[in-house]
Symmetry: C2
Subunit: 342 residues, 2 copies
C-alpha cells in the first residue's frame, strides 16, 4: 500500500506543557524552521491547553500564543500552522483571531464522550476555510463502538480527521488498534482517522504503528517526545521506524528530524519528559497527562506524594478541565495523613 | 493461561554500562534490597560486558565485580543472583570464582551466529549446578529459522532458557515475535525462551509483551530502563503493563518496583539513558548498544560526530567485542573530513 502517512508535529503545543508554556518567539521560530526544513507538513502552535489556555487554572504563557502563531506562520515556508482549541477553554472568537494570524488548520478537542460540545466550532472552522481535526481525548474511557459514535458526531459537524487521542498513555496495542478500527469503520470515506500517542507505558510509537496498520493516515508526534506526562510519541522515532518499514511518510527527512530533536529542541529544554513514577502511574491509572505538573505543585504545597494524588485522581476519573480538583484531592490526602499521625 | 512470567532484573549488569561500571558495593546492596523486597526472583550483577569485562577495551569497574556479587548474595533474602559471561571476555575460571561467591544463575552470551563458542561454558555451568540462560545477542542479524538453529546449539549444550536479545533495540514488533516463536518451535519442551529488549526505537516493552504472547516465560528489564544505548525495557513499566493485562508475574510488587526505580535507583544515576540521537541511530542501523559511550568518547577525541561513527559501524556490521574498531572508524572519518577541508 502506498498511502502517505502525514506526521504532524505538536512540539510547540503539547510540548508546551513540558516547558510550562514558557516558549519564546525565537524558540518557536527555530523549531518551525527545523521542522519545515525537514518537510513536516503540519506544525501545531498553541498553549498546551489550546487557544485561551493561558489562565490561572492551566498556567500562564510567557508569550501571547497569537504572537507565537504569527511568528510560526512567518517562519514556515511550506508547513501549515495549526492551532488546538478546547471548547470552553477557547472560543470561536479566539479561533477567528488565530485564523487572522495565519493558522490554516484547527484541531478541536473534547473529552471522548463530549463530542457534541464541538459541533459549532467545527462548523465555524469550516466556514473560515480551515482544515479541521477532532481530538477525542482520554479515548481509553470509551469502548471502541462508543468512541466511534462520538467520532461520527464530529465528522457530521465538519471534522475532516478524527484523532484517537491517548491522553494518559494508557492504551496498550490492540486497545489502541481496536479504537482506530472502530472509528474508521464508522467514519471512513467521510473523514480520515489519526492517532495521538503518549509514552507513559512506552507504547506511543508501537500504538501509532498499529493505528497506521488499521488505516490511520495522520500521526502526531513531538521532537524528543516533548509533551505532557511521559511525553508524546517522539516524531523523529516515528519517522525512523516508519521509514525503516518502507512506509510512505511524504518526503519527511528522517535524519533532519533526528538532528532537529538533538540540536534545536534539546538545548531549549531544562527537563525532558521521561517515564518517571508519576507518569507511569498516569499511564497505569488513565490520568490526563497534563495533570502531572499540577500534581507535582500540589505535592510540594501540601506535602503529600504526587503519585498518591495521581492515583486518587485516577480512581475518581477526573478529566481535562478539572485541574483545580487536584488541589482538593491533595488537601484531602493531607488531612487523612494528619489524622493518621494524631 | 496462567503461566508465570519471570521478570529478571539487570540493573546491576546491563545498567552498569550507563554508569560506566562505577557501581559501589553500597549501591549494589541498596538496589538488591529494593528488588528483593519487591519479590524480583533473579538479579544479575556483573560488569556490563560480563565477567572479566573490566579491561581497557570495555572500561574498568570501580569495584571488583566479584565483591559486588558477594554483596548482592549477602543482601538478597529470596532472589537468586546471576552473572553474565561472554566467552572470550570471561572464562570458566571466572565463572567458578563467581559461583564460589554465591552466584546461582549464569547467562552465557554470544553473538547470535556464534552459539557454539558457548558449548563448554554451558556444560561447565551445569556441572557446577548453576541455572543457565543463553543470550543470542544482536538477534536481528539472523532470520528466525537461523536464530532457532543457534538456540538449539545452546540448549543441547545445557542452556535452560534461550533469550532473544535485541542488543541494538532494532527489532520492531513482529520482528521480535517471529524470532521468539521460531526459537520456541525449535527448543520448546527442552528449554524456556526469554526476551531481552532495548528502547532505542521505544519497542522494548511492546516487544516483550509480544514475546510473552508467543510463549516466552522470562523477560529482562532494568529499573528506570538503566542500560546500554537508549536503555533497557524498564522493569517497573513491564510489571505495570503485565499486571494491568492480568498476567501472572509471580507476585512481583508493581508499586514496590515503581518506588525502587524512583527512590533507590534514580538518585544514584547522573545520566539516565534516553532516546537521544545516538541511540536512535543505533536502533535504526542495528548497532550494538554498548558502543554508544565508546562512540561518544571517540567523537570527543577525534572531532567527528558520534552519530556518524555509529552509522558507519552499522554499515560495517561490527559486533560486540570490536569496541576498538570504533577508534579506527573515527580516525577514518576524521581523515576524510580533513581531506575535504584541504
Amino acid at each position: 500500500m502506498s498511502t502517505t502517512i502525514r506526521l504532524n508535529d505538536s512540539t510547540l503545543r503539547d510540548g508546551s506543557h513540558a516547558v510550562r508554556h514558557q516558549y519564546t518567539t525565537d524558540q518557536v521560530r527555530r523549531v518551525v524552521r527545523a521542522l519545515d526544513d525537514a518537510h513536516v507538513e503540519m506544525i501545531e502552535v498553541t498553549h498546551g491547553d489550546g487557544l485561551g489556555g493561558s489562565t490561572f487554572n492551566y498556567g500562564f504563557s510567557r508569550t501571547d500564543e497569537l504572537d507565537l502563531i504569527e511568528a510560526a506562520v512567518d517562519e514556515a515556508r511550506h508547513a501549515k500552522i495549526a492551532a488546538l482549541l478546547l471548547p470552553g477553554v477557547g472560543t470561536i472568537a479566539d479561533l477567528k483571531e488565530a485564523a487572522l494570524r495565519g493558522v490554516s488548520v484547527v484541531r478541536i478537542a473534547t473529552h471522548c464522550s463530549e463530542a457534541d460540545v464541538a459541533i459549532q466550532h467545527f462548523q465555524a472552522a469550516r466556514e473560515m476555510g480551515l482544515e479541521t481535526g477532532g481530538f477525542l481525548m482520554l479515548s481509553h474511557r470509551l469502548a471502541p463502538a462508543e468512541l466511534a459514535a462520538q467520532a461520527r458526531i464530529m465528522v457530521d459537524a465538519g471534522c475532516e480527521c478524527v484523532f484517537v487521542v491517548d491522553s494518559a498513555g494508557h492504551l496498550i496495542m490492540e486497545q489502541a488498534a481496536d479504537r482506530v478500527r472502530a472509528v474508521l469503520d464508522e467514519v471512513g470515506g467521510d473523514a480520515e482517522v489519526g492517532f495521538h500517542g503518549h509514552q507513559n507505558l512506552s507504547f506511543g510509537v508501537a500504538n501509532s504503528l498499529l493505528a497506521v496498520r488499521e488505516g490511520a493516515t495522520q500521526v502526531d508526534g513531538t521532537l524528543y517526545g516533548l509533551g505532557a506526562g511521559a511525553g508524546n510519541a517522539p516524531l523523529e522515532v516515528l519517522a525512523t521506524v516508519f521509514d525503516r518499514l518502507g512506509m510512505d511518510i511524504g518526503g519527511v527527512d528522517v535524519t533532519g528530524l533526528q538532528n532537529a530533536a538533538e540540536e534545536v529542541l534539546r538545548p531549549m529544554v531544562e527537563r525532558l519528559p521521561m517515564m518517571d513514577r508519576g507518569s507511569i502511574v498516569q499511564g497505569q491509572m488513565g490520568v490526563y497527562n497534563s495533570f502531572l505538573f499540577h500534581a507535582e505543585r500540589a505535592s510540594q504545597r501540601y506535602g503529600v506524594p504526587a503519585q498518591d494524588i495521581l492515583r486518587e485522581i485516577g480512581r475518581r476519573g477526573y478529566v481535562g478541565g478539572q485541574e483545580d480538583m487536584l488541589i482538593d484531592v491533595a488537601v484531602e490526602l493531607q488531612q487523612r495523613s494528619l489524622n493518621m499521625v494524631s
